[in-house]
Subunit: 174 residues, 2 copies
């Protein structure tokens, strides 16, 4: 699949939230190329990206193959430790219930996300699993990082899907 | 690792919740044998067990390798569909935040669990992700299936771990 969005290569000198989020966004473009909902994630540890993944649930035919889950597995494998307290996750859209829960279980240090999801997002949108009252692990989240960019790619993907479905239905009824 | 608990083989003629939960319990015994927290899960579809898994997070060094996540991946693979609306999951302990969220994402039909977990369980204990107000998919859960059996195996495992840690500390201080 061709993707109408192009990857962005940020300066390596300024490793702020936008830097890491841009890499997550580039992963989202990889997802689009596989006809997957374009969501990407990276995990940072000591200023280095130790995991980068994109949504693969359709390709893998596995509902658990979200960007964040794949990135968490990678990061734990890289560090040789399943506890990611010293890590920060950057993801293009607010994590779903499963991925938000995975961040609790993996004891992630901090989360930055792009587009908020008040309907299904679970680090502040629909609920906040990072703040379960009796949980041994809590974490903070900051949304809205490169929000417009991350919104545009998701919107364009779903607009395209809707158009394709409409065209298919028109063809079917002819 | 030897496990002091023995597998139970229920009659194939009475496929009620206890039947499926017994198979989940047998998976928990497999987890213990690997020195993993003994939690097991099975997924039923049309009266047949299409997925059976146990916690492997320590062995796999992967915080996402919980019994339910592995069972969901298996079931989606078996059915060739990531939507598990016609499936029921049986798990020995109330699912954690990640696994409860995965059940939403995989559109599970129904959930039975053994031991309730008011602290971290997210299908009614700490919160109920199966009932997020704006979610497109909701599901019901029933707890307390073979609760005593599922409680005993978890309690015995953690008692053993506490004893081992105590003995290690005593040796270290000598």
């Amino acid at each position: 699949m061709t993707c109408p969005f192009e990857k962005i290569y940020p300066s390596e000198l300024n490793r702020d939230a936008s830097y890491y989020m841009t890499h997550a966004y580039n992963e989202a473009i990889e997802a689009w190329k596989k006809d997957e909902v374009p969501i990407g994630a990276v995990i940072e540890h000591n200023g280095r990206i130790i995991a980068a993944a994109h949504n693969q649930s359709r390709t893998a035919n596995d509902p658990t193959a979200h960007a964040e889950i794949l990135a968490i597995s990678q990061a734990a494998n890289t560090l040789g430790d399943w506890r990611l307290n010293e890590c920060t996750l950057y993801v293009t859209k607010e994590p779903c219930p499963m991925c938000s829960g995975a961040l609790v279980i993996a004891r992630i240090g901090k989360v930055y996300y792009g587009l908020p999801d008040p309907k299904m997002g679970c680090v502040g949108g629909a609920t906040d699993l990072g703040a379960l009252p009796r949980s041994n692990h809590k974490f903070e989240s900051t949304g809205g990082v490169l929000e417009e960019l991350n919104h545009q790619i998701l919107k364009a993907f779903f607009d395209k899907k809707r158009l394709e479905n409409k065209e298919r239905k028109t063809l079917d009824s002819e």
